[in-house]
Symmetry: C2
Subunit: 126 residues, 2 copies
DNA sequence: ATGGCTGTATTATTATCATAATACAAAGAA
DNA sequence: TTCTTTGTATTATGATAATAATACAGCCAT
């Protein structure tokens, strides 16, 4: 997995985002064992404390739970996962549209640009 | 103007974003006088030093210039402004699509959601 | 010339983030 | 039992951000 961390936001928040995406997209399924803190930290090139903070925060959100010494697992509440996925999507759409409007783009233009980008992508991968 | 600053990113960066939007959308036109640092800072509820940093950075990008004691002005290079606008739009679209793909949404679904949101908005404002 | 407005510079203080380096407790395996 | 793996806690250090409080230089109108 590629973590692609940037410098413009707290790392632990970016880690939370990536892990949430993993869960919400099913790459980390309900009940799946989450790799150990130290392993994830090493993989992401981050201090274990930082990864620990991200995981603890995700746990407070209910996306994971801990079996004290055996490890950490993804929640089995599929409904919650689905809800969070929809919520994130909704937020991103709202933010994207608001931002584009602020730049002076109309909804029509935006959809047009998206479809244009889509066609461009088809010529390359997938 | 509403600045709507959040806590998840450096304030000076958010200030840069807002000011750039103002210029790129024409609310601050080429050659227009930019309000004094202290005034902008007060309006945004921010320390003058922080606003100063944002403005200085925008100046380094070429979006503004300073007439030492008379004040600060928006660049008159309309082409540069237009280019930056397109660049920002392009970046946002790419980031938005990548993020939504990561959540498991196809391009078709995304466009569908956008159009749905668009219809919902029509019932309210504008 | 004086006072006010402009951008700019300086110093200090506080908070958050990230890292480093350990240490400990509990469960499970050898 | 002993060792390893797990999450967790603690202390210290450095970097960046943001604030506060000033101060200075240049232009301009009075």
């Amino acid at each position: 997995m590629q973590w692609q961390l940037r410098g413009d936001r707290p790392i632990y928040q970016q880690l939370m985002d990536r892990l949430t995406e993993q869960i919400v997209s099913g790459q980390l399924g309900p009940g799946d064992k989450v790799p150990p803190v130290r392993e994830l930290a090493a993989e992401a090139g981050v201090n274990p404390n930082t990864m620990q903070r991200a995981l603890a925060d995700l746990e407070r959100e209910g996306l994971m739970y801990t079996n004290r010494t055996s490890g950490r697992y993804v929640t089995e509440d599929r409904e919650m996962i689905a809800k969070i996925r929809e919520q994130i999507a909704s937020d991103r759409i709202a933010e994207f549209l608001a931002g584009m409007n602020q730049l002076g783009f109309t909804e029509q233009e935006i959809v047009g640009l998206l479809e244009k980008r889509q066609k461009g992508e088809e010529k390359h991968g997938e």
